[in-house]
Amino acid sequence: MNALTTRPELRKKIVLLSITVIIEGVAFIFFWSVLRKTAATHMQASSASRTSDALPNLLSDLNLILPMSLLAILLGIVCAFYLEEWLSSTSWIRRFIESQVAFLTGIPSLLYGLLAVIIFFGYAGVFKATRTTFQHNTALFYTEMLIFILMVIPVAIKATQEALRSVETPIRESTYALGANRWQVLTQQVIPRAFPQMLAGGCRAMSQAFAAAALLTGIHIWSHTTGLRGLPDRFMLFLGGALLLSNASSFLTEIYVPASTQQN
Protein backbone atom coordinates (compact mmCIF):
# COMPACT_ATOMS: atom_id res chain seq x y z
CA MET A 1 0.00 0.00 0.00
CA ASN A 2 1.34 3.41 -0.80
CA ALA A 3 0.79 6.72 0.96
CA LEU A 4 -2.06 7.65 -1.38
CA THR A 5 -4.26 4.71 -0.43
CA THR A 6 -3.90 5.25 3.33
CA ARG A 7 -5.63 8.65 3.18
CA PRO A 8 -9.25 7.47 2.83
CA GLU A 9 -8.55 5.20 5.80
CA LEU A 10 -7.75 8.25 7.92
CA ARG A 11 -10.79 10.09 6.65
CA LYS A 12 -13.05 7.15 7.48
CA LYS A 13 -11.58 7.00 10.96
CA ILE A 14 -12.27 10.68 11.61
CA VAL A 15 -15.86 10.39 10.36
CA LEU A 16 -16.53 7.36 12.59
CA LEU A 17 -14.95 9.08 15.56
CA SER A 18 -17.13 12.17 15.15
CA ILE A 19 -20.31 10.10 14.78
CA THR A 20 -19.54 8.22 17.98
CA VAL A 21 -18.67 11.41 19.86
CA ILE A 22 -21.98 12.98 18.80
CA ILE A 23 -24.04 9.93 19.85
CA GLU A 24 -22.23 9.67 23.15
CA GLY A 25 -22.45 13.41 23.75
CA VAL A 26 -26.23 13.34 23.41
CA ALA A 27 -26.46 10.34 25.74
CA PHE A 28 -24.14 12.08 28.20
CA ILE A 29 -26.22 15.27 28.35
CA PHE A 30 -29.41 13.25 28.69
CA PHE A 31 -28.01 11.29 31.64
CA TRP A 32 -26.74 14.42 33.28
CA SER A 33 -30.15 16.09 33.22
CA VAL A 34 -31.90 12.95 34.45
CA LEU A 35 -29.33 12.63 37.20
CA ARG A 36 -29.63 16.18 38.45
CA LYS A 37 -33.40 16.01 38.52
CA THR A 38 -33.75 12.63 40.20
CA ALA A 39 -30.88 12.85 42.66
CA ALA A 40 -32.58 15.88 44.19
CA THR A 41 -36.04 14.35 44.46
CA HIS A 42 -35.05 10.87 45.50
CA MET A 43 -32.83 11.44 48.51
CA GLN A 44 -35.58 11.02 51.08
CA ALA A 45 -36.94 7.74 49.76
CA SER A 46 -36.17 4.96 52.15
CA SER A 47 -35.40 1.34 51.52
CA ALA A 48 -38.01 0.20 54.01
CA SER A 49 -39.55 -2.04 51.41
CA ARG A 50 -36.74 -4.54 51.78
CA THR A 51 -36.36 -6.79 54.76
CA SER A 52 -33.26 -6.30 56.86
CA ASP A 53 -32.44 -10.03 57.11
CA ALA A 54 -29.32 -10.98 55.17
CA LEU A 55 -30.33 -14.33 53.70
CA PRO A 56 -33.52 -13.39 51.82
CA ASN A 57 -31.74 -10.36 50.37
CA LEU A 58 -28.77 -12.45 49.26
CA LEU A 59 -31.01 -15.08 47.73
CA SER A 60 -33.09 -12.57 45.82
CA ASP A 61 -29.89 -10.92 44.51
CA LEU A 62 -28.48 -14.24 43.36
CA ASN A 63 -31.81 -15.15 41.86
CA LEU A 64 -31.47 -12.08 39.66
CA ILE A 65 -27.75 -12.11 38.96
CA LEU A 66 -27.15 -15.76 38.08
CA PRO A 67 -29.78 -16.35 35.36
CA MET A 68 -29.11 -12.94 33.86
CA SER A 69 -25.36 -13.39 33.72
CA LEU A 70 -25.75 -16.81 32.14
CA LEU A 71 -28.03 -15.30 29.52
CA ALA A 72 -25.72 -12.35 28.97
CA ILE A 73 -22.65 -14.56 28.64
CA LEU A 74 -24.41 -16.86 26.18
CA LEU A 75 -25.47 -13.87 24.12
CA GLY A 76 -21.90 -12.55 24.23
CA ILE A 77 -20.52 -15.89 23.07
CA VAL A 78 -22.96 -16.11 20.17
CA CYS A 79 -22.12 -12.55 19.18
CA ALA A 80 -18.38 -13.25 19.35
CA PHE A 81 -18.78 -16.34 17.14
CA TYR A 82 -20.66 -14.27 14.61
CA LEU A 83 -18.05 -11.52 14.59
CA GLU A 84 -15.04 -13.79 14.55
CA GLU A 85 -16.14 -16.67 12.34
CA TRP A 86 -18.81 -15.27 10.03
CA LEU A 87 -17.78 -11.70 9.32
CA SER A 88 -14.55 -10.90 7.54
CA SER A 89 -12.00 -8.83 9.42
CA THR A 90 -12.53 -5.90 7.09
CA SER A 91 -16.31 -5.82 7.47
CA TRP A 92 -17.34 -2.44 8.86
CA ILE A 93 -19.99 -4.00 11.13
CA ARG A 94 -17.29 -6.03 12.80
CA ARG A 95 -14.91 -3.12 13.13
CA PHE A 96 -17.61 -0.89 14.55
CA ILE A 97 -18.81 -3.46 17.10
CA GLU A 98 -15.24 -4.30 18.06
CA SER A 99 -14.41 -0.65 18.66
CA GLN A 100 -17.49 -0.27 20.85
CA VAL A 101 -16.66 -3.48 22.73
CA ALA A 102 -13.14 -2.22 23.36
CA PHE A 103 -14.62 1.04 24.55
CA LEU A 104 -17.12 -0.59 26.93
CA THR A 105 -14.62 -3.07 28.37
CA GLY A 106 -12.15 -0.25 28.93
CA ILE A 107 -14.41 1.43 31.50
CA PRO A 108 -13.68 0.33 35.10
CA SER A 109 -16.56 -1.39 36.86
CA LEU A 110 -16.63 1.43 39.42
CA LEU A 111 -18.19 3.70 36.85
CA TYR A 112 -20.75 1.08 35.90
CA GLY A 113 -21.66 0.79 39.58
CA LEU A 114 -22.25 4.51 39.74
CA LEU A 115 -24.22 4.43 36.53
CA ALA A 116 -26.38 1.70 38.03
CA VAL A 117 -27.07 3.83 41.09
CA ILE A 118 -28.19 6.73 38.93
CA ILE A 119 -30.46 4.64 36.81
CA PHE A 120 -31.86 2.79 39.78
CA PHE A 121 -32.59 5.98 41.71
CA GLY A 122 -33.78 7.68 38.60
CA TYR A 123 -36.27 4.91 37.88
CA ALA A 124 -37.31 4.41 41.48
CA GLY A 125 -37.61 8.15 41.91
CA VAL A 126 -40.68 8.09 39.75
CA PHE A 127 -42.54 6.33 42.54
CA LYS A 128 -40.92 8.38 45.28
CA ALA A 129 -41.98 7.40 48.80
CA THR A 130 -45.00 5.42 47.69
CA ARG A 131 -43.10 2.68 45.90
CA THR A 132 -43.88 -0.91 46.74
CA THR A 133 -41.63 -3.94 46.88
CA PHE A 134 -42.77 -4.82 43.39
CA GLN A 135 -41.76 -1.45 42.03
CA HIS A 136 -38.48 -1.62 43.89
CA ASN A 137 -37.74 -4.99 42.34
CA THR A 138 -38.75 -3.79 38.90
CA ALA A 139 -36.32 -0.88 39.20
CA LEU A 140 -33.61 -3.28 40.31
CA PHE A 141 -34.40 -5.58 37.39
CA TYR A 142 -34.12 -2.87 34.75
CA THR A 143 -30.96 -1.52 36.31
CA GLU A 144 -29.32 -4.92 36.37
CA MET A 145 -30.41 -5.58 32.83
CA LEU A 146 -28.83 -2.38 31.55
CA ILE A 147 -25.62 -2.96 33.45
CA PHE A 148 -25.41 -6.49 32.14
CA ILE A 149 -25.89 -5.30 28.60
CA LEU A 150 -23.26 -2.61 28.98
CA MET A 151 -20.75 -4.57 31.01
CA VAL A 152 -21.06 -8.34 30.95
CA ILE A 153 -21.81 -8.83 27.26
CA PRO A 154 -18.82 -6.81 26.00
CA VAL A 155 -16.47 -8.65 28.36
CA ALA A 156 -17.91 -11.97 27.23
CA ILE A 157 -17.57 -10.96 23.57
CA LYS A 158 -13.99 -9.88 23.99
CA ALA A 159 -12.95 -12.93 26.00
CA THR A 160 -14.59 -15.33 23.52
CA GLN A 161 -12.98 -13.58 20.58
CA GLU A 162 -9.59 -13.87 22.22
CA ALA A 163 -10.22 -17.54 22.92
CA LEU A 164 -11.21 -18.15 19.27
CA ARG A 165 -8.17 -16.28 18.02
CA SER A 166 -5.90 -18.35 20.25
CA VAL A 167 -6.68 -21.43 18.13
CA GLU A 168 -3.83 -21.41 15.63
CA THR A 169 -4.57 -20.68 11.97
CA PRO A 170 -2.95 -23.93 10.71
CA ILE A 171 -5.56 -25.95 12.58
CA ARG A 172 -8.40 -24.10 10.88
CA GLU A 173 -6.66 -24.04 7.52
CA SER A 174 -5.95 -27.73 7.44
CA THR A 175 -9.45 -28.60 8.61
CA TYR A 176 -11.05 -26.41 5.96
CA ALA A 177 -8.71 -27.75 3.30
CA LEU A 178 -9.81 -31.30 4.15
CA GLY A 179 -13.32 -30.24 3.18
CA ALA A 180 -14.89 -29.54 6.56
CA ASN A 181 -17.69 -27.01 6.68
CA ARG A 182 -17.68 -24.14 9.14
CA TRP A 183 -19.82 -26.01 11.63
CA GLN A 184 -17.49 -29.02 11.65
CA VAL A 185 -14.42 -26.82 12.05
CA LEU A 186 -16.04 -25.05 14.97
CA THR A 187 -17.46 -28.05 16.79
CA GLN A 188 -14.64 -30.51 16.18
CA GLN A 189 -11.53 -28.38 16.38
CA VAL A 190 -12.03 -24.80 17.47
CA ILE A 191 -14.49 -25.03 20.38
CA PRO A 192 -12.76 -27.94 22.18
CA ARG A 193 -9.50 -25.97 22.07
CA ALA A 194 -10.96 -22.58 22.92
CA PHE A 195 -13.29 -23.84 25.65
CA PRO A 196 -11.04 -23.30 28.71
CA GLN A 197 -10.36 -19.73 27.68
CA MET A 198 -14.02 -19.13 26.95
CA LEU A 199 -14.85 -20.38 30.43
CA ALA A 200 -12.21 -18.10 31.92
CA GLY A 201 -13.71 -15.23 29.97
CA GLY A 202 -17.15 -16.06 31.33
CA CYS A 203 -15.74 -15.95 34.87
CA ARG A 204 -14.12 -12.60 34.15
CA ALA A 205 -17.42 -11.25 32.89
CA MET A 206 -19.19 -12.52 36.03
CA SER A 207 -16.56 -10.99 38.27
CA GLN A 208 -17.14 -7.64 36.60
CA ALA A 209 -20.84 -7.97 37.35
CA PHE A 210 -20.21 -8.85 40.98
CA ALA A 211 -17.76 -5.97 41.39
CA ALA A 212 -20.39 -3.58 40.12
CA ALA A 213 -23.01 -5.16 42.36
CA ALA A 214 -20.70 -4.74 45.35
CA LEU A 215 -20.20 -1.09 44.50
CA LEU A 216 -23.91 -0.67 44.09
CA THR A 217 -24.42 -1.96 47.61
CA GLY A 218 -21.74 0.37 48.98
CA ILE A 219 -23.20 3.36 47.24
CA HIS A 220 -26.63 2.38 48.45
CA ILE A 221 -25.48 2.57 52.06
CA TRP A 222 -23.63 5.79 51.41
CA SER A 223 -26.70 7.37 49.91
CA HIS A 224 -28.59 6.87 53.17
CA THR A 225 -25.99 8.58 55.28
CA THR A 226 -25.00 11.52 53.08
CA GLY A 227 -27.94 11.93 50.78
CA LEU A 228 -25.55 11.82 47.78
CA ARG A 229 -24.71 15.50 48.12
CA GLY A 230 -22.46 16.74 45.36
CA LEU A 231 -22.36 13.35 43.72
CA PRO A 232 -24.01 14.18 40.37
CA ASP A 233 -21.50 16.76 39.20
CA ARG A 234 -18.42 14.91 40.38
CA PHE A 235 -19.72 11.68 38.90
CA MET A 236 -20.39 13.20 35.53
CA LEU A 237 -16.95 14.80 35.49
CA PHE A 238 -15.23 11.46 36.00
CA LEU A 239 -17.60 9.60 33.71
CA GLY A 240 -17.02 12.17 30.98
CA GLY A 241 -13.25 11.88 31.35
CA ALA A 242 -13.38 8.10 31.31
CA LEU A 243 -15.65 8.07 28.26
CA LEU A 244 -13.40 10.36 26.29
CA LEU A 245 -10.17 8.55 27.14
CA SER A 246 -11.63 5.11 26.65
CA ASN A 247 -13.14 6.16 23.36
CA ALA A 248 -9.87 7.57 22.11
CA SER A 249 -7.97 4.43 23.04
CA SER A 250 -10.50 2.13 21.43
CA PHE A 251 -10.42 4.14 18.24
CA LEU A 252 -6.68 4.03 18.16
CA THR A 253 -6.53 0.28 18.62
CA GLU A 254 -9.63 -1.01 16.85
CA ILE A 255 -10.82 1.39 14.20
CA TYR A 256 -7.47 2.32 12.84
CA VAL A 257 -6.07 -0.81 11.25
CA PRO A 258 -2.64 -0.17 9.77
CA ALA A 259 -2.81 -0.58 6.02
CA SER A 260 -0.11 -3.25 5.97
CA THR A 261 -2.14 -5.71 8.05
CA GLN A 262 -5.28 -5.50 5.94
CA GLN A 263 -4.01 -7.63 3.16
CA ASN A 264 -2.41 -10.99 3.19
Partner: protein, 254 residues
Protein backbone atom coordinates in the same frame (compact mmCIF):
# COMPACT_ATOMS: atom_id res chain seq x y z
CA UNK B 1 -3.55 -35.34 -23.16
CA UNK B 2 -6.11 -34.83 -20.38
CA UNK B 3 -6.01 -31.85 -18.11
CA UNK B 4 -6.95 -31.85 -14.42
CA UNK B 5 -7.08 -28.10 -14.05
CA UNK B 6 -7.71 -25.46 -16.69
CA UNK B 7 -7.91 -21.75 -16.05
CA UNK B 8 -9.20 -19.15 -18.49
CA UNK B 9 -8.43 -15.44 -18.04
CA UNK B 10 -8.27 -15.87 -14.29
CA UNK B 11 -7.84 -12.59 -12.44
CA UNK B 12 -7.90 -12.14 -8.69
CA UNK B 13 -7.89 -9.09 -6.44
CA UNK B 14 -7.18 -8.75 -2.71
CA UNK B 15 -9.07 -5.51 -2.11
CA UNK B 16 -7.63 -3.14 -4.70
CA UNK B 17 -4.48 -5.12 -5.26
CA UNK B 18 -4.51 -7.38 -8.30
CA UNK B 19 -2.67 -10.56 -7.42
CA UNK B 20 -3.40 -12.56 -10.61
CA UNK B 21 -3.66 -11.09 -14.10
CA UNK B 22 -5.35 -13.10 -16.88
CA UNK B 23 -3.80 -16.43 -16.03
CA UNK B 24 -4.38 -19.15 -18.63
CA UNK B 25 -2.99 -22.49 -17.65
CA UNK B 26 -3.55 -26.18 -18.20
CA UNK B 27 -2.28 -28.65 -15.64
CA UNK B 28 -1.94 -32.14 -17.10
CA UNK B 29 -3.25 -35.29 -15.43
CA UNK B 30 -1.19 -37.64 -13.34
CA UNK B 31 2.14 -35.86 -13.22
CA UNK B 32 4.01 -33.29 -11.17
CA UNK B 33 3.79 -29.67 -12.29
CA UNK B 34 5.70 -27.01 -10.42
CA UNK B 35 5.03 -23.30 -10.03
CA UNK B 36 8.10 -21.10 -9.72
CA UNK B 37 8.70 -17.38 -9.55
CA UNK B 38 9.91 -14.66 -7.22
CA UNK B 39 8.15 -14.05 -3.89
CA UNK B 40 4.80 -12.28 -4.19
CA UNK B 41 4.27 -13.25 -7.82
CA UNK B 42 0.99 -15.03 -7.10
CA UNK B 43 2.07 -18.68 -7.08
CA UNK B 44 0.46 -19.47 -3.76
CA UNK B 45 -2.61 -17.40 -4.65
CA UNK B 46 -3.05 -19.37 -7.85
CA UNK B 47 -2.62 -22.65 -5.97
CA UNK B 48 -5.17 -21.62 -3.35
CA UNK B 49 -7.72 -20.80 -6.06
CA UNK B 50 -7.94 -24.41 -7.09
CA UNK B 51 -9.69 -25.56 -3.93
CA UNK B 52 -11.10 -22.14 -3.10
CA UNK B 53 -9.40 -21.86 0.27
CA UNK B 54 -8.36 -18.27 -0.38
CA UNK B 55 -11.99 -17.16 -0.17
CA UNK B 56 -11.72 -17.44 3.56
CA UNK B 57 -9.60 -14.31 3.79
CA UNK B 58 -12.52 -12.12 2.71
CA UNK B 59 -12.10 -9.15 0.41
CA UNK B 60 -11.15 -11.46 -2.46
CA UNK B 61 -12.61 -10.91 -5.94
CA UNK B 62 -12.15 -13.52 -8.65
CA UNK B 63 -12.91 -13.23 -12.35
CA UNK B 64 -12.47 -15.77 -15.10
CA UNK B 65 -12.97 -19.47 -15.19
CA UNK B 66 -11.34 -22.35 -13.33
CA UNK B 67 -12.18 -25.85 -14.42
CA UNK B 68 -11.15 -28.60 -12.07
CA UNK B 69 -11.74 -32.13 -13.38
CA UNK B 70 -13.91 -30.65 -16.12
CA UNK B 71 -16.19 -28.66 -13.82
CA UNK B 72 -16.19 -24.90 -13.35
CA UNK B 73 -15.60 -24.56 -9.61
CA UNK B 74 -17.34 -21.19 -9.42
CA UNK B 75 -20.64 -22.67 -10.58
CA UNK B 76 -23.44 -22.28 -8.08
CA UNK B 77 -23.95 -26.01 -7.68
CA UNK B 78 -20.37 -26.79 -6.65
CA UNK B 79 -20.11 -28.15 -3.12
CA UNK B 80 -16.99 -26.88 -1.36
CA UNK B 81 -16.56 -29.98 0.82
CA UNK B 82 -16.69 -32.20 -2.30
CA UNK B 83 -14.27 -29.93 -4.16
CA UNK B 84 -11.80 -29.96 -1.29
CA UNK B 85 -12.20 -33.71 -0.97
CA UNK B 86 -11.12 -34.08 -4.59
CA UNK B 87 -8.40 -31.44 -4.37
CA UNK B 88 -6.22 -32.04 -1.32
CA UNK B 89 -3.76 -29.53 0.01
CA UNK B 90 -0.42 -29.75 1.82
CA UNK B 91 0.85 -26.59 3.50
CA UNK B 92 4.21 -24.96 3.96
CA UNK B 93 4.49 -25.76 7.68
CA UNK B 94 3.43 -29.29 8.48
CA UNK B 95 0.06 -28.80 10.17
CA UNK B 96 -1.25 -32.08 11.55
CA UNK B 97 -4.09 -31.59 14.01
CA UNK B 98 -3.10 -31.84 17.69
CA UNK B 99 -4.76 -35.25 18.05
CA UNK B 100 -3.38 -38.77 17.69
CA UNK B 101 -1.74 -40.03 14.52
CA UNK B 102 -4.59 -42.52 14.07
CA UNK B 103 -7.28 -39.84 14.34
CA UNK B 104 -5.37 -37.50 12.06
CA UNK B 105 -5.43 -40.00 9.23
CA UNK B 106 -9.13 -40.65 9.72
CA UNK B 107 -10.14 -37.03 10.30
CA UNK B 108 -10.83 -36.19 6.68
CA UNK B 109 -12.86 -39.34 6.16
CA UNK B 110 -14.83 -38.79 9.36
CA UNK B 111 -16.00 -35.32 8.34
CA UNK B 112 -17.19 -36.65 5.00
CA UNK B 113 -19.06 -39.70 6.26
CA UNK B 114 -21.94 -40.16 8.70
CA UNK B 115 -21.05 -40.74 12.34
CA UNK B 116 -20.14 -44.35 13.21
CA UNK B 117 -20.29 -45.50 9.62
CA UNK B 118 -16.90 -47.19 9.91
CA UNK B 119 -16.17 -50.27 11.96
CA UNK B 120 -12.97 -50.55 13.96
CA UNK B 121 -11.43 -53.04 11.54
CA UNK B 122 -12.26 -50.88 8.55
CA UNK B 123 -10.70 -47.82 10.11
CA UNK B 124 -7.62 -49.79 11.20
CA UNK B 125 -7.20 -50.95 7.63
CA UNK B 126 -7.61 -47.45 6.19
CA UNK B 127 -4.98 -46.06 8.58
CA UNK B 128 -2.58 -48.87 7.73
CA UNK B 129 -3.01 -48.36 3.98
CA UNK B 130 -2.56 -44.61 4.18
CA UNK B 131 0.50 -44.78 6.39
CA UNK B 132 2.03 -47.55 4.32
CA UNK B 133 1.75 -45.57 1.13
CA UNK B 134 3.70 -42.69 2.67
CA UNK B 135 6.25 -45.09 4.25
CA UNK B 136 5.33 -44.20 7.82
CA UNK B 137 3.69 -47.46 8.84
CA UNK B 138 6.91 -49.19 9.92
CA UNK B 139 7.94 -46.21 12.07
CA UNK B 140 4.60 -45.47 13.63
CA UNK B 141 2.67 -48.74 13.79
CA UNK B 142 3.37 -49.06 17.53
CA UNK B 143 2.77 -45.38 18.25
CA UNK B 144 -0.56 -44.72 16.61
CA UNK B 145 -1.89 -43.15 19.82
CA UNK B 146 0.94 -40.61 19.82
CA UNK B 147 0.10 -36.94 19.40
CA UNK B 148 0.80 -36.05 15.78
CA UNK B 149 2.35 -32.70 16.69
CA UNK B 150 5.12 -34.44 18.62
CA UNK B 151 6.44 -36.27 15.53
CA UNK B 152 9.51 -35.10 13.62
CA UNK B 153 8.77 -32.44 11.01
CA UNK B 154 9.43 -34.81 8.14
CA UNK B 155 7.04 -37.39 9.59
CA UNK B 156 4.48 -34.67 10.21
CA UNK B 157 4.62 -33.57 6.58
CA UNK B 158 4.26 -37.16 5.39
CA UNK B 159 1.33 -37.57 7.73
CA UNK B 160 -0.25 -34.46 6.17
CA UNK B 161 -0.01 -36.23 2.83
CA UNK B 162 -1.26 -39.50 4.31
CA UNK B 163 -4.39 -37.94 5.74
CA UNK B 164 -5.44 -36.84 2.24
CA UNK B 165 -5.22 -40.33 0.78
CA UNK B 166 -8.27 -41.95 2.44
CA UNK B 167 -10.38 -39.25 0.77
CA UNK B 168 -9.16 -40.53 -2.61
CA UNK B 169 -8.30 -37.09 -4.03
CA UNK B 170 -7.54 -36.62 -7.70
CA UNK B 171 -5.27 -33.63 -7.29
CA UNK B 172 -2.85 -32.74 -4.50
CA UNK B 173 -1.76 -29.12 -4.15
CA UNK B 174 1.46 -28.48 -2.28
CA UNK B 175 2.55 -25.09 -1.06
CA UNK B 176 6.32 -25.24 -0.57
CA UNK B 177 6.01 -28.63 1.08
CA UNK B 178 9.70 -28.94 1.86
CA UNK B 179 10.68 -25.47 2.98
CA UNK B 180 10.41 -26.40 6.66
CA UNK B 181 12.32 -29.66 6.22
CA UNK B 182 16.02 -30.51 6.16
CA UNK B 183 17.77 -32.14 3.20
CA UNK B 184 16.90 -35.68 4.29
CA UNK B 185 13.25 -34.81 4.86
CA UNK B 186 13.10 -33.01 1.52
CA UNK B 187 14.53 -36.07 -0.21
CA UNK B 188 12.01 -38.34 1.47
CA UNK B 189 9.04 -36.14 0.53
CA UNK B 190 10.25 -35.76 -3.06
CA UNK B 191 10.68 -39.50 -3.40
CA UNK B 192 7.18 -39.99 -2.05
CA UNK B 193 5.78 -37.50 -4.55
CA UNK B 194 7.45 -39.27 -7.44
CA UNK B 195 6.01 -42.60 -6.36
CA UNK B 196 2.50 -41.18 -5.94
CA UNK B 197 2.64 -39.09 -9.12
CA UNK B 198 1.09 -41.76 -11.32
CA UNK B 199 -2.02 -41.97 -9.17
CA UNK B 200 -2.48 -38.29 -8.32
CA UNK B 201 -1.93 -35.01 -10.09
CA UNK B 202 0.55 -32.91 -8.15
CA UNK B 203 0.88 -29.17 -8.36
CA UNK B 204 3.65 -27.77 -6.20
CA UNK B 205 4.79 -24.26 -5.40
CA UNK B 206 8.49 -24.07 -4.76
CA UNK B 207 11.25 -21.52 -4.27
CA UNK B 208 13.85 -24.18 -4.71
CA UNK B 209 14.63 -24.35 -8.42
CA UNK B 210 16.74 -27.45 -8.02
CA UNK B 211 13.68 -29.13 -6.56
CA UNK B 212 11.47 -27.98 -9.43
CA UNK B 213 14.00 -29.41 -11.84
CA UNK B 214 14.33 -32.68 -9.98
CA UNK B 215 10.69 -33.56 -9.43
CA UNK B 216 8.50 -31.86 -11.98
CA UNK B 217 7.75 -32.77 -15.53
CA UNK B 218 6.28 -29.42 -16.45
CA UNK B 219 7.05 -26.07 -14.99
CA UNK B 220 5.18 -22.76 -14.84
CA UNK B 221 7.01 -19.48 -14.36
CA UNK B 222 5.03 -16.60 -12.90
CA UNK B 223 6.03 -12.98 -12.52
CA UNK B 224 4.03 -10.18 -10.82
CA UNK B 225 0.73 -12.02 -11.13
CA UNK B 226 1.16 -13.05 -14.74
CA UNK B 227 1.89 -16.45 -16.14
CA UNK B 228 4.99 -15.91 -18.25
CA UNK B 229 5.94 -19.35 -19.42
CA UNK B 230 4.62 -22.89 -19.13
CA UNK B 231 6.72 -25.63 -20.69
CA UNK B 232 8.46 -28.89 -20.02
CA UNK B 233 10.83 -28.39 -17.09
CA UNK B 234 13.96 -29.31 -19.05
CA UNK B 235 13.13 -26.85 -21.83
CA UNK B 236 12.13 -24.07 -19.47
CA UNK B 237 15.37 -24.24 -17.58
CA UNK B 238 17.72 -24.77 -20.49
CA UNK B 239 16.19 -22.78 -23.32
CA UNK B 240 13.79 -20.26 -21.74
CA UNK B 241 11.77 -18.38 -24.33
CA UNK B 242 11.14 -15.34 -22.27
CA UNK B 243 13.84 -12.99 -21.01
CA UNK B 244 12.23 -12.73 -17.55
CA UNK B 245 12.27 -16.50 -17.23
CA UNK B 246 15.89 -16.58 -18.28
CA UNK B 247 16.80 -13.94 -15.72
CA UNK B 248 15.05 -15.87 -12.97
CA UNK B 249 16.21 -19.39 -13.71
CA UNK B 250 19.77 -18.23 -14.18
CA UNK B 251 19.45 -16.47 -10.82
CA UNK B 252 20.12 -13.00 -12.08
CA UNK B 253 17.51 -11.88 -9.51
CA UNK B 254 14.74 -13.28 -7.34
Amino acid sequence: MNYSIETENLSLWYGDFQALIDVNSKIPDGQITSLIGPSGCGKTTLLRCFNRVNERYGNVTTKGKIEVLGKNIYDADVSLPELRKAVGMVFQRPNPLPISVYENVLFGLRIHSPIRSMTRTESDQIVEEALTSVFLWEDLKDNLKMRATSLQLEQQQKLCIARLLPLKPKIILMDEPCSALDAKGTGAVEELMEILAGTYTFLIVTHNMAQARRVSKECIFMFLGELIEHRETQALFETPEHSKTADYVQMRYG
